[in-house]
Assembly symmetry: C2
Homo-oligomer: 104 residues x 2
């Protein structure tokens, strides 16, 4: 299903997580092929945590799951936009989006 | 100005380019510190092309410049959202966004 996607030398692809309703960009995750497959299969966002070096379902510890509406891919097939309905804040800080600060 | 941003081992940071008006995600670029500085200074999007291994102003060849409205950064300070007013299509294919295809 995702055989045409291009993963980097670490086996990862960038996944931009976007609120399907508001259009707000919530966070940027990395997925391996298993995370992509599980995201499509379960309709919830899975990611590969580079810090923990493991596959994780977003919300498994916080309860703040991201329910998937659509998954788009780009012209190079090396990046995803995952449009979601978030259950609670997407950021570990408690902010709705990780992008809550602005450069001057 | 961008001294708090965290660049990866190649000196790059991910920059999600988003239409400031519609909220549509247009493309995903990579920036080095010079690209970030020039983007903030000129209010137009500059990127580091990994393919061409050089700094480029988006639109220099196509005329499809991306005028910058706001630059947001995330909780880890290792990703940007650049909100823009695009002059023409952002994708080299002629599509408005690079994310014009959907996974099943």
């Amino acid at each position: 299903m995702d055989t045409d996607l291009k993963y980097d030398s670490n086996g990862l692809i960038s996944a931009i997580i976007q609120d399907d309703h508001s259009g707000e960009v919530l966070t940027l995750f990395y997925m391996n092929d298993v995370a992509v497959a599980k995201t499509l299969e379960t309709k919830r966002v899975w990611r590969y945590s580079r810090q923990h070096q493991q596959l994780m379902q977003k919300g498994d510890t916080s309860g703040n799951f991201l329910n998937v509406r659509r998954v788009l891919y780009d012209c190079d097939a090396d990046a995803l936009v995952v449009r979601v309905n978030p259950i609670g804040p997407a950021c570990h800080t408690g902010e709705r989006s990780c992008f809550y600060r602005e450069l001057p």
